[in-house]
């Protein structure tokens, strides 16, 4: 199987432009994330990948263009309201809460859920611990004292606790050892298999292309190339 059957576009970004002050950070960026698939935005440092993702998450103001999630325009929706709608981002690097324990961090992922402390909540917590056994070992440890890789896992696990339909990942491989990168990517594939659509921003193009169904290449703030990936290469192999 070289290409998977993919659903309708769940997240559509059209002609997105964002400024930092007077400086244009991204210009006319368009891409589509198919339901049930993995889409990736790749590009060099400073190409605008993180800005694009932060704008989708509502952390940056849209100057022009629009972001459509499951048929609704979310361009002006503030970031804290997106989690409840089913869109959640794991921020890049050490975007965990350093003074909270692993368990408290995961609990923050469930902040908007009304069923906290229920069986479903416990099951989701267990699912994260199954995906990331390291986190289970360190339940009561403060996130700020953990390694970069462990914090990356925690950031992903925390996002999963919100039960997102689309998971946004910002450079999950940043600063990690090659072996750990392999591990993180195979977990991303597993999360996707369990039914979550993934939008992945990566600098590690080779790894990202092996994992994703569709890819967009950002160069200096614009999409330079787009296309389907030759999926089917096992990212673990």
């Amino acid at each position: 199987m070289s290409e998977r059957a993919l659903g309708e576009d769940q997240l559509v970004v059209e002609g997105l432009s964002v400024n930092y002050g007077r400086i244009e950070a991204i210009r006319d960026v368009s891409f589509r994330v198919p339901a049930g698939g993995i889409a990736t935005l790749i590009g060099a440092n400073g190409a605008g990948k993180t800005t694009t993702l932060k704008t989708v998450s509502g952390l940056r103001t849209v100057r022009a263009g629009r972001i459509v999630f499951e048929g609704e325009d979310i361009s002006r929706v503030p970031s804290h309201q997106l989690v409840k709608r089913g869109l959640c981002q794991a921020p890049e690097g050490r975007g965990t809460f350093p003074g909270m324990t692993v368990e408290e961090n995961l609990d923050m992922g469930a902040y908007t859920r009304s069923d906290r402390k229920s069986a479903a909540y416990r099951a989701d917590m267990d699912r994260v611990f199954t995906l990331f056994p390291r986190l289970a070992e360190r339940r009561a440890q403060a996130a700020g004292t953990m390694s970069g890789g462990e914090q990356q896992m925690l950031a992903i696990g925390r996002a999963l606790m919100s039960r997102p339909r689309v998971l946004l990942l910002d450079e999950p491989s940043m600063g990690l050892a090659p072996k750990l990168i392999q591990q993180i990517f195979s977990i991303i594939v597993e999360i996707n298999r369990q039914g979550t659509t993934v939008l992945l921003v990566e600098q590690n193009a080779a790894q990202a292309l092996r994992t994703a169904d569709v890819a967009y290449v950002l160069e200096t703030g614009s999409v330079a190339r787009a296309g389907r990936c030759a999926h089917g290469v096992d990212p673990r192999g």
Partner: protein
């Protein structure tokens, strides 16, 4: 008259009786707990916004007047005692907390919110805070004239005059001596103040640590963007933070009145600096640090005034602040609301 002159700082070698030392320690802890409670407002807001809310001193002052006015309204008599006295004090506590909480929310709304939305530099917010502080203080100090303009002078006479002098707080609870061992005394009012202040602080700490909203506060203080991504509404968290700080300042104001007995329109100025000092001493942004800083400051003031004379009280406490910060620049327990989790 060498016999009556104040002790000179150059002759500190006087023997202090143990009972005096114990009394100084106890009253130092009482005052220190009030400082700590007051300091929470500075620490909470700093933790979330990295902003020193200089108008917090006036939040306290307004709470103190709310307590005084509640006693006037209830026509309370000093030392009357009985269940009514307890009820009166609880009503005064509620009034002080409600007014302080409301003033804190007002300050956030009027002096800060718009600046934050416009992403103004921190210095602008500081100036705005100082302006708000003067406004709040002078409105209280000119309340007799304001009442005069509104022709309410007659009706509100008891509440507005004299606007720029000390106003007495009527404490209906008698101040009994609970313990007297060789000169070391524990009075009921002091004990109530100490226990109440500690109880309020424990309640606040538990709220911030355990409740969902409290976790939101900690999340924003540790990483505002990540908190937003997890669905925390920062605007609500900021309001909650101001409200909590205001409620604690209101409680501190009532306890202060029970201990000291008077307030005035500018009482917040020096006390606010003390409470702010307590917050910095313990580690600003750190809830337990506020308590520790308050207690250390209260003790230092008392010991300092005994050793060098009461005129040197503030010199000793601020010298202590400077020395502590020289060796521990982030305060005794270090910075950050979240890292104080324990």
């Amino acid at each position: 008259m060498p016999g009556t002159s104040p002790p000179s700082p150059l002759e500190p070698n006087r023997v202090v009786p143990l009972s005096t030392f114990l009394n100084l320690t106890f009253t130092g802890l009482v005052v220190g707990a009030i400082y700590g409670l007051f300091a929470l407002g500075y620490t909470l807001v700093y933790g979330v916004l990295r902003l020193i809310n200089f108008a917090h001193s006036e939040v306290f002052m307004w709470g103190s007047f709310a307590a005084v006015w509640m006693m006037t309204l209830l026509n309370a008599r000093a030392g009357s005692g009985g269940p009514a006295a307890v009820l009166y004090l609880l009503l005064a506590l509620l009034a002080a907390m409600a007014v302080s909480g409301a003033v804190a929310l007002l300050v956030e709304r009027v002096a800060y919110r718009r600046l934050r939305e416009k992403k103004s530099p921190p210095l602008v917010a500081l100036i705005s805070a100082i302006g708000a502080s003067f406004m709040l203080s002078e409105i209280m100090g000119l309340r007799d004239r304001i009442a005069g303009w509104l022709n309410l002078d007659g009706v509100l006479g008891d509440y507005v005059r004299p606007a720029r002098e000390n106003t007495q707080f009527v404490n209906p609870l008698p101040n009994a001596t609970l313990l007297d061992v060789g000169g070391f005394q524990v009075r009921s009012t002091q004990l109530i103040v100490l226990v109440a202040a500690l109880a309020m602080m424990i309640a606040l700490e538990q709220f911030v640590r355990r409740s969902r909203l409290g976790r939101g506060v900690r999340a924003v203080s540790q990483d505002a963007e990540a908190a937003a991504l997890m669905g925390v509404d920062q605007k609500r968290v900021v309001q909650l933070t101001f409200l909590l700080g205001g409620l604690m300042a209101g409680a501190a104001a009532l306890l202060y009145l029970m201990h000291i007995g008077v307030t005035r329109y500018n009482v917040g100025f020096i006390l606010g600096i003390k409470a702010f000092t307590a917050a910095v001493l313990g580690g600003i942004g750190n809830i337990r640090g506020a308590l520790l800083g308050g207690l250390v400051l209260g003790l230092a003031e008392n010991y300092g005034s005994q050793l060098f004379g009461s005129a040197w009280k503030d010199v000793v406490s601020f010298l202590l602040l400077v020395v502590v910060l020289l060796f521990r620049p982030t305060g005794l327990l270090g910075e950050s609301l979240g890292k104080a989790r324990a």
